[in-house]
């Protein structure tokens, strides 16, 4: 019995060691100056689960960035939770030294702060670079009676409220895009929120809804198999796989919703660090392999400087605020 107690203690100690050794990560070497940035590995926080769209985009771009960063590695850390705010918070609160960054797609900066629960706002970060832009698209069944968005609008004016679409959640870019479409076109569509793009496609194929709004990549397989068609591009950019579909603006409806992805760091990053990282992103976006993998996801590679990205974040934040108010989600 005594022997087994002792054994238990040893086991516990050994297991404890295991835990502590796991938590000792690589940090920047002290004494390094900004001129030789980076001189240690960089933590790239992706505030979503591994395997998701932003995670894949981040890993793809990082593979092309690493050679440009003095041979230092960029380690992806999936800190999901709180609709992306959990990982975002940890980056906002980190030391502004360029060794902890966040790869994000809109939400945590342009939607969540509106709810007033985050400890940061959209401008508590240093935007470093815009990586890619993806439009929101509206898909319908291939045998649907409409072939253009104008036909749908004309139909909806005759039968108001007859069109139900599946979205990936209230307040998500897809529902915001449809809300903007409704008010610009003067129609009324009804939203049925689902949890994932896969569920929205199932609901559409099963004829439970009339349309589905979301990022293009969710519909790629079903469009190829001939079950669905893209009725409208609710954004402003185009990828070869859906370039024939006109945007709302091209169809004479004044609304546009894109989802931009990019890199931000904590507030107060030095210009040297921002430039070094932005240059690495720009170089990565010239790599044909990186470009191929981004466009196969339906997003459009779209480099932008830190200032350009900052402007995107501000305008998205403001626009989302207006829509969220209309939806009654914020006072």
């Amino acid at each position: 019995m005594i022997a087994s107690r002792a054994l238990a203690a040893i086991t516990l100690a050994a297991a404890g060691l295991l835990v502590t050794s796991c938590s000792v990560g690589a940090g920047p070497q002290s004494g390094g100056t900004e001129a030789d940035y980076p001189n240690a590995s960089i933590e790239a926080v992706v505030p979503y689960d591994a395997g998701g769209a932003t995670d894949q985009l981040a890993r793809t771009v990082i593979s092309g960035m690493e050679p440009e960063l003095n041979g230092q590695s960029v380690v992806v850390l999936n800190e999901s939770g709180g609709a992306g705010t959990s990982g975002m918070t940890s980056v906002v609160n980190s030391e502004p030294n360029g060794y902890k960054l966040a790869f994000i797609a809109g939400g945590p900066l342009t939607v969540q702060p509106h709810y007033g629960k985050t400890s940061y706002s959209y401008d508590d970060v240093t935007p470093i670079a815009r990586i890619a832009t993806s439009p929101i698209v509206l898909a319908v069944r291939a045998d649907a009676p409409w072939n253009t968005i104008q036909e749908l609008v004309a139909d909806l004016k005759k039968n108001p409220g007859s069109f139900r679409y599946a979205s990936t959640g209230v307040g998500n870019p897809a529902s915001i895009a449809m809300e903007k479409f409704d008010s610009a076109a003067g129609v009324d569509t009804k939203q049925v929120p689902f949890k994932s793009s896969s569920e929205t496609v199932t609901a559409l194929l099963g004829k439970n809804v009339d349309g589905a709004a979301g990022l293009p990549q969710g519909f790629t397989a079903s469009v190829k198999s001939g079950d669905l068609k893209i009725l409208a591009n609710l954004g402003s950019v185009k990828d070869p796989s859906y370039e024939k579909v006109p945007t709302l603006k091209e169809s004479g409806i004044d609304a546009s919703t894109d989802l931009t992805s990019g890199i931000v760091g904590p507030k107060g990053l030095s210009n040297e660090v921002v430039t070094a990282l932005a240059d690495a992103v720009q170089a990565s976006l010239k790599d044909t392999k990186v470009l191929e993998r981004i466009s196969s996801s339906g997003a459009v590679p779209d480099f932008g400087t830190g200032e350009e990205y900052a402007a995107d974040i501000k305008s998205d934040f403001d626009e989302n605020g207006i829509v969220l108010k209309e939806l009654g989600l914020i006072p």
Binding site: T11, G81, S86, K195
Partner: protein, 506 residues
């Protein structure tokens, strides 16, 4: 169909996946032998470590463990009258008696043969039935899913082991927990206070790991060392005699069918299938008086049934995307975490995963048949491991694992909290299974119920206007009616008997 299975085997024979089948089956057998550590505990502990794997490899590994546990649990039931896991409880009755008569070998042998046949029958059902069901399931909309979830909840409460009232309380807590976080339709925050972490709701893995991993370990430390003695160190000849085989043929056949069907029912799992099979064998037996005294039919039937049910419970997961038991719900969350939504379109969108997992289950089944018997002698040695050594390891491993879910200490606290909850639930006799299942089905029920109301123009009438949901409502009503009726009759019989005894007494 041929192409699909070939695709499956090409995926399953990939070296990494092959290794996953082997490792999963072996680990499963080992865990099955250890009393108290069942498939749920093991899979929940290993779950976070599978995040780094390809989703197909991860599912193959976990499916291997699930199948292996069913084999391993038999060994200690037969030799020690100590069920290695819940589904082998009935085997401990006749299996142990057989061992006392020096027939441990044939008891283990017939279990292995029965398990192999049962799992194969269920696999064939999975191969042919799941894709067809998936095709049908694309047509199911939110109203049907809402009614399926409701029916599932009813069955969980109805079929659960232990006190009905306690199962209902546990399920009610699970339903409540499912409402924490963002409202799935309106996006409002509910029961989150100022916590950003709670916005996403509770993490299924952290809750299950706490309730089953940590809770079970804490509870097992409380038990005194069991007094069970090995009946015999020598297992002897495992191959059953001709008479054993002919006696077992019918029980194995019935067990395969019972197990396969039970796996399709919400809340039905290994234990339920083996209980039903044992009951059936006793009813059909020519020698019911031998039951409890070492009847081989009482081993062959239930052991076949529990392997068949664990295999066929993959059918609702892979075709409908609904997990009907706790173990399967863990596999469900592995898929979700990897960005794959299990559902009717899994077979068309991820055919390599769908068929790869099925093919690897065929392989695992063969591996288990070949490996488990020669290893019996070695496996018994595992029982010498002291729980005092194993327990701290399991707890630390659980916490490390849960940390890796999102690299945040939050989920460690969630797991520890539910570990304590799970400990007290066990002490007070509340089953943790209904809590977890209600937690998972509750989310599905709420979301699809509210989606349904958005789909129709006339509120709740939408459920009566669709043939699918109408049929499911009818089944639910029948179930409630039947159980109420039988409960009333039982009570009448009891009060009648009591009155009679009073009369007799006076």
């Amino acid at each position: 169909m041929n192409d699909s299975i070939l695709l499956g085997f090409s995926v399953a024979l990939d070296p990494m996946n092959l290794l996953a089948v082997l490792a999963g089956c072996l680990l499963g057998v080992v865990v099955g032998v250890l009393p108290g550590l069942g498939p749920i505990t093991t899979i929940s502990i290993l779950l976070p470590f599978t995040y780094a794997m390809e989703p197909t490899t991860a599912i193959i590994l976990l499916a291997g463990i699930y199948a292996g546990v069913m084999y391993g649990g038999t060994v200690t039931s037969v030799l020690l009258k100590l069920p290695g896991e819940a589904a082998s409880v009935v085997t401990a009755i006749d299996g142990y008696e057989m061992a006392r008569k020096g027939r441990a070998g044939p008891a283990l042998g017939i279990s292995a043969i029965g398990s192999f046949i049962g799992a194969t029958v269920a696999l064939i059902a999975l191969t042919f039935f799941a894709p067809a069901l998936a095709e049908l399931a694309v047509k199911l909309g939110p109203p049907e899913y809402a009614m399926l979830a409701l029916l599932g909840l009813l069955l969980i409460a109805y079929l659960g082991a232990g006190a009905f009232a306690k199962a209902v309380v546990a399920a009610a807590i699970g339903l409540f927990l499912a409402t924490v976080g963002l409202d799935p339709i309106s996006g409002d925050a509910r029961f989150v206070g100022d916590s950003l972490q709670l916005l996403d709701g509770m993490d299924v893995v952290a809750v299950v790991l706490g309730l089953f991993g940590i809770g079970e370990v804490l509870f097992s430390l409380r038990e005194r060392d069991s007094e069970a003695e090995l009946v015999s160190k020598k297992v002897g000849r495992v191959w059953p005699t001709k008479k054993d085989l002919s006696d077992s043929a019918a029980p194995i056949a019935r067990g395969s069918v019972i197990g396969t069907l039970v796996g399709l029912v919400p809340g039905g799992g290994g234990l339920l299938s083996s209980l039903l099979s044992y009951g059936a064998e006793r009813r059909f037996a020519k020698n019911p008086e031998e039951f409890g005294k070492g009847a081989i039919q009482g081993v062959a039937g239930p052991e076949t049934a529990n392997n068949a049910s664990s295999t066929s419970s993959f059918i609702p997961l892979l075709s409908l995307g609904i997990p009907f038991n706790v173990t399967i719900s863990l596999l469900f969350s592995v898929l979700l975490i990897n960005g794959i939504t299990p559902g009717p379109r899994l077979v068309t969108e991820n055919p390599d995963l769908f068929w790869g997992v099925i093919a690897s289950m065929y392989l695992g089944n063969v591996v288990l048949l070949i490996l488990s018997l020669p290893l019996v002698g070695l496996l018994i040695q595992i029982l010498r491991v002291d729980m005092a050594v194993l327990s701290p390891f399991i707890i630390v491993l659980s916490l490390v694992g849960v940390y890796t879910i999102d690299n945040n200490t939050w989920n460690m606290w969630v797991a520890l909290f539910f570990g304590v909850v799970g400990y007290f639930m066990r002490i007070w006799g509340f089953p943790p299974g209904p809590l977890v299942l209600a937690f998972i089905l509750g989310g599905l029920l709420e979301t699809s119920l509210r989606q349904s109301l958005l789909l129709g123009d006339e509120g709740f009438l939408v459920f009566l206007q669709r043939p699918g949901s109408l049929a499911l409502i009818a089944v639910s009503v029948l179930l409630i009616g039947a159980s109420t009726f039988s409960a009333v009759r039982k009570r009448r019989a009891q009060t009648g008997a009591a009155e009679e005894s009073i009369h007799v007494g006076s």
